[in-house]
């Protein structure tokens, strides 16, 4: 090796890893920024609370935060809240599971095989154009008014974003990386496991997350159409009995449950996506 070559190689080796960037920023700014976002909601809540306390507003239709909190605690105390959350979560998870499995399966078929894409995709796209709620009467006729029709509705709602996401992800896999697999003689299964699957994973996870979000949307619709348990039932019940505090408490429970499920999904899939070279840390 010539001298020039050696010194150049050494210089190249010392090339630093990508800098972390955010480290330089001070500790205070890191806390101040999320706190600034809290200013508006906390201010509004506090203002409303004070307005009701001092008799400036009635607060009958829009209950002050303290009353919502009371209702929330009371529901939690009697075990009602736990029961309703449990029932709702169970419906979402079963519906999401069924819809996700079907979505991944059909998405993979449509993405991987041109023949099945030509056969399946037009029909599925046509079905996708139907607002899922429109199925409700038919599902009630077919599956009755109990769990089966609710879970089916959720599964249908979850299916389409996952189908689109997975199918699209497969179609957009980098041809050049697939060629690497071919050049190194990876067999069909090894090609899927080592190249195709990791390549589609980021988009597939995003699809699963939007599917889960839709699952929560449709569980409300399903529970509106007649249920004696579940957070959706609490909503309807609160409306019929004129208890806005119960409605808001149920809404908060929905938000917490949805965020919790999404976080679990993100945590479960994070180790699989550690390699990603992305600008933003998370969404």
């Amino acid at each position: 090796m010539s001298d020039a070559g050696l010194s150049v190689a050494a210089a190249e080796d010392s090339h630093p890893a990508a800098p972390t960037g955010q480290g330089a920023r001070g500790g205070r700014a890191r806390w101040a920024r999320p706190l600034a976002g809290l200013l508006l909601p906390v201010g509004l809540a506090l203002g409303w609370e004070l307005a009701v306390r001092f008799g400036l507003a009635q607060g009958r239709l829009v209950p002050p935060p303290s009353r919502i909190w009371e209702t929330f605690l009371r529901l939690a105390d009697t075990g009602e809240l736990g029961l309703h959350i449990g029932v709702t979560l169970w419906r979402v998870l079963v519906g999401f599971g069924a819809g996700a499995v079907a979505g991944i399966l059909f998405g993979a078929l449509s993405g991987a095989s041109p023949v099945s894409r030509r056969l399946l995709d037009p029909t599925l796209q046509a079905l996708r154009a139907i607002p899922s709620i429109a199925w409700v009467p038919l599902f009630i006729l077919w599956f009755g008014i109990f769990e089966a029709s609710k879970v089916t509705l959720i599964a249908v709602g979850v299916f389409f974003p996952i189908y689109l996401g997975v199918g699209g992800a497969i179609l957009s896999v980098d041809r050049k990386l697939v060629e690497v697999g071919r050049a190194y003689r990876l067999s069909g299964f090894a090609l899927v496991r080592r190249i195709l699957l990791p390549a589609i994973l980021p988009e597939a996870v995003t699809a699963l997350r939007s599917g889960l979000g839709l699952g929560f949307m449709f569980v409300v619709a399903a529970e509106f159409m007649g249920a004696s348990e579940g957070l959706g039932y609490l909503l309807v019940d609160g409306q019929q009995l004129g208890k806005p505090d119960q409605i808001v408490a149920a809404i908060i429970a929905f938000a917490l449950a949805g965020k919790l499920c999404d976080t679990v999904l993100v945590l479960l899939t994070r180790p699989l996506l550690a390699w990603q070279d992305v600008r933003r840390e998370r969404l």
Binding site: E12, E179, V180, R194, P198, L201, W275
Partner: protein
């Protein structure tokens, strides 16, 4: 020995990318394919790598026909094409068939040592510079112990210093296991620095215009008169091949550049 006979590639739209190319490369010979764009260099390499099928003609490695990717042929693409979800060691291991884990670790380490990246085994590809990534790609191509190493303009995207250092790496690796090397390049200096033989190609349709044997001792310094003379010879041959190509419709376009 790599024997290519009357190789022709016609694409579905009727374009003839390669016409009647015959080339025999001895074991341990380094051949550089050089030529302007569109003269079928990359097409030729893809056919030899077994990634595409030839329309006519044959490719044989030690008498065995090459119709699909072959264990005895390693390929380095123009870009590193590392798999971003694997660390450096796992990327190199892609080039290895099914072997026990212990042997795999050892061979990966050895291949990384050859390209001087042994202590980067646990890094992600995104953490490496362009030159380092291309060295990982070379290690991936070498780990299977190929008889033939194909390089498709592997250093074209790198700066001159990194390129010079990779030339040294490549020659060091070559002198250890002495594979046959076929490299595509558009850089005359690179061809003259590395190759035993320079094959000049010409476009429309792609074919061989000229072959120049370089029996110069290594290491070659660009400043030495013999290397300079060889560069001039290759440049002249390249010029001739390009002029021949321009006699077609492009000749009338040339004066328009003088405005």
């Amino acid at each position: 020995m790599l024997a290519v006979e009357r190789l022709t590639k016609r694409y579905a739209d009727g374009t003839v990318a390669l016409s009647d190319v015959s080339l025999t490369v001895r074991a341990a010979e380094i051949v550089a394919l050089i030529g302007g764009s569109g003269c079928g260099k990359t097409t030729f390499l893809r056919l030899v790598a077994g990634l595409d099928r030839a329309s006519a003609g044959s490719i044989r490695l030690d008498g065995e026909p090459v119709l699909e990717p072959h264990a005895g042929i390693g390929l380095v693409f123009q870009e590193p094409r590392l798999l971003p979800w694997y660390d450096v060691a796992a990327n190199v291991a892609v080039g290895l068939g099914r072997v026990p884990a212990a042997e795999r670790r050892e061979r990966v380490l050895h291949a990384l040592e050859k390209v001087g990246l042994a202590d980067h085994a646990r890094r992600w590809p995104r953490e490496l510079s362009g030159g380092q990534q291309q060295r990982v790609a070379i290690a991936r191509a070498l780990i299977g112990g190929p008889k033939v190493l194909l390089l498709d303009e592997p250093f074209s995207a790198l700066d001159a210093f990194t390129r010079a250092s990779l030339h040294e790496h490549l020659l060091a690796i070559w002198s250890e296991s002495r594979p046959t090397v076929v490299m595509v390049t558009h850089d005359v200096d690179e061809a003259v620095k590395l190759a035993d033989r320079v094959v000049v190609m010409r476009p429309a349709p792609g074919r061989i215009a000229d072959e120049i044997a370089l029996s110069l001792a290594r290491p070659r310094s660009r400043a030495s008169p013999a290397v300079e003379a060889a560069s001039r010879t290759v440049l002249k041959a390249l010029d001739r091949s390009l002029k021949a190509a321009q006699k077609g419709p492009e000749a009338s376009a040339a004066p328009a550049l003088w405005w």
